[in-house]
């Protein structure tokens, strides 16, 4: 079989494809990356301490809990649903973990697992209730928001605040790997991406399928590799690679693989795109929904445990405040549609970076909270407006 003779997508077609995706309502990650560059540029002009290894390392650790919660939110949004309980599940999961570890003297690993499973069970319950009684998901999870916060207060008991001393739990947000480890990991990741690109091209050629333009694919690979190495270099010149960041990236890569390359992930998109079509195609729509809500609960609890590790304490206010809205806003700012079926798990990372950068940059400028809320609100409004306009374009096209 002649690999060289494999047909190739024309350059024109390649350049049109992103435009077609946007036209079909999938805005992708370009707007958010452009926005992130703009935000970083502005903050660095206003305060040269912003783009320093010290501050960027702090930023990556600051966004991990929001990013983890947002990863679950992306999956729920892909279904066209919403989960308003993730803030309370964040708090309850960390409270369960803290009580198991500190008050009951259980070692770190089982205590963390206990906290995570609490989130999983709650998510299963939400999913079951939502599918069994056909109540809108935002109402079921709104009830959850209240009820699980109450349970969090009950679990924490009269002391209210539990300080965490266990070094293994503290390490989740406190451990940094050496620069050498970081460089080795970056090299392995880039090698895997390179091999994957050529294996995929080879398989497409063997199957006689059209190829994307090689130069563009290699260009994309080089850009991604450059981003990975620059990030590693920045982190290496400060304290090293944070374990918290690797945990976040590990979950994002795993869920990206699940959503894009497995039947389960394909079915999530199908249910979000057209639930009736999915049902007629034999997909267990309710099974998918329950599984996704269970994942959202799990990720919320994991986010809570990372947050507790960063603050070294769990208290009444853990998971309250901005967590819920920041996690939803991050997913939407990252390019995941509120209307279901469009977006990727990576938007949890890019969106969290935007929100984290705004908070971090304004803190560096000693700007008070009032301005921070207004700017975050404006960015969220811009993101949902892009989403809404893309959707209108789709509807105008009669689709």
């Amino acid at each position: 079989m002649s690999v060289a003779a494999a047909p190739q997508v024309s350059l024109r077609e390649t350049l049109l494809t992103p435009w077609r995706r946007i036209r079909s309502g999938d805005i992708g990650s370009l707007p958010v990356l452009a926005g992130l560059v703009l935000i970083w540029a502005v903050f660095d002009i206003l305060n040269p301490n912003f783009l320093t290894p010290l501050n960027l390392t702090n930023l990556t650790v600051q966004i991990t809990d929001i990013g983890l919660v947002s990863t679950g939110i992306v999956l729920v949004l892909l279904l066209g649903e919403i989960d308003l309980s993730v803030g309370s599940v964040y708090g309850l999961g960390s409270a369960v973990m803290a009580v198991l570890n500190v008050k009951m003297g259980i070692s770190a690993v089982p205590a963390v697992i206990g906290g995570i499973l609490t989130g999983t069970l709650i998510g299963l319950l939400h999913g079951f209730w939502f599918t069994r009684f056909r109540i809108p998901s935002f109402v079921v999870t709104l009830a959850g928001l209240l009820a699980w916060f109450g349970l969090q207060l009950r679990v924490l008991g009269e002391t209210g605040t539990i300080n965490i001393y266990d070094p293994n739990i503290d390490a989740l947000a406190g451990k940094f790997f050496s620069p050498a480890f970081g460089w080795a990991l970056a090299a392995v990741v880039v090698a895997i991406l390179t091999v994957e690109l050529f294996v995929r091209r080879r398989r497409r050629a063997t199957a006689g399928l059209v190829q994307n333009v090689l130069v563009l694919e290699l260009g994309g690979l080089v850009a991604v590799a450059a981003a990975i190495f620059v990030a590693t270099g920045v982190l290496a010149s400060d304290r090293g690679v944070p374990l918290a960041l690797l945990i976040l990236l590990g979950f994002i890569v795993t869920f990206d693989l699940i959503t894009k390359r497995t039947r389960f992930g394909r079915h999530i998109y199908a249910v979000g795109g057209n639930a009736e079509a999915a049902r007629r195609a034999g997909i267990s729509v309710n099974g998918i929904r329950i599984a996704v809500f269970a994942i959202a609960g799990t990720m919320a609890a994991i986010g809570g445990i990372l947050g507790a590790s960063r603050l070294l304490a769990v208290n009444y206010s853990s998971g309250t405040g901005d967590i819920l809205l920041d996690a939803i806003a991050a997913a939407v700012i990252g390019g995941t549609s509120l209307f279901g079926g469009r977006g990727t798990v990576w938007s949890a990372l890019t969106g969290s970076l935007v929100i984290g950068s705004i908070g971090n940059g304004l803190a560096l400028l000693s700007v008070s909270a009032d301005i921070k809320y207004m700017i975050t609100g404006a960015v969220l409004l811009a993101a949902v407006t892009i989403d809404g306009v893309a959707r209108q374009g789709r509807q105008r096209a009669g689709l």
């Binding site: 997508v9 494809t17 079909s24 079915h267 199908a270 057209n274």
Partner: protein, 273 residues
């Protein structure tokens, strides 16, 4: 036999239904009756489709077309009557059984996921994985999708574009391709041209003829008699839950078909109760 030639079948003949040629119907309904409450939706209706044939099912609103289609799709279970497939009496209790026999339906809403690409829609619910890892076998699916679309002469700019980016005719073609790519022998198309422009209607009608030429039995439900006359080998007319006329291609005339649909008398129709 009065089964053809523009004259009414009158009361349904006793089993077996008369066969106009030597061929055996691939799907045959005998004396199907169905009522919903007080409404008799179908009264002893016979219906048959042969391999490599386009049979149009026409009738006014409420004539029983949808009920008959849903009976063949296994969504309605008839009160009485028999369904035969490839010469065998088959029991149909739900939508899975027709699907397993190779009877598929393309409904008017097409049931496509706009956010997914053409390959994903063709394989919806039947995605192939590459053991031992449970990852989707994208190359195999894309290869087969191209084969199917090429065999039906369906032209799509890129099978990796989301369906939302396609025209109405292309979307209809994708829905039809999906219905026939899993060993279908009979395909029912419910108003396939209802929302389409002239050029796209032509594409879809050509696709209908290609399905017939590949040996499928095609059942075309349409209000558009011009389309029906263009592609149908036979026309079966329902009115008020009865089969009131069958027209061969050679003996079709628009006046006679319209008269059968509306019940307008020109002499030889039996009046309905």
């Amino acid at each position: 036999m009065s089964e053809t030639g523009g004259w009414p079948a009158g009361h349904p003949p006793s089993v077996p239904a008369p066969v106009p040629t030597e061929r055996q119907p691939i799907l045959e309904l005998r004396s199907i009756s169905k009522h919903f409450g007080a409404v008799q939706a179908l009264s002893s209706v016979d219906f048959e489709v042969y391999p490599a044939e386009v049979v149009a099912l026409v009738g006014d609103n409420g004539a029983g077309k949808s009920t008959l289609v849903k009976t063949m799709a296994g969504i309605n279970i008839p009160d009485s009557g028999e369904i035969w497939f490839e010469g065998k009496h088959v029991a149909i209790h739900g939508p899975r059984e027709p699907a397993a026999l190779g009877i598929s339906t393309v409904y008017q809403d097409l049931a496509l996921c706009d956010n997914l690409d053409v390959v994903a829609n063709l394989y919806l619910g039947r995605e192939e994985i590459q053991p031992p890892v449970p990852l989707l076998s994208e190359e195999r699916m894309e290869h087969r999708a191209r084969e199917v679309l090429t065999s039906l002469d369906v032209k799509i700019p890129s099978v990796r574009n989301p369906v939302a980016a396609l025209s109405g005719g292309q979307r209809q073609s994708v829905a039809v391709a999906r219905s026939v790519m899993w060993k279908a022998k009979v395909v029912m198309l419910d108003e396939p041209t209802a929302a389409l422009g002239v050029q796209q209607t032509k594409q879809v009608l050509e696709l209908v003829l290609r399905l017939r030429n590949q040996g499928l039995g095609v059942i075309l439900i349409s209000h558009n008699l011009a389309n029906v006359f263009e592609v149908a080998d036979r026309i079966v007319v329902l009115r008020l839950g009865r089969r009131v006329g069958t027209f061969d291609r050679s003996k079709m005339s628009e006046e006679a078909v319209v008269a059968a649909i509306t019940g307008a008398e020109f002499g030889k129709f039996q009046p309905q109760a």
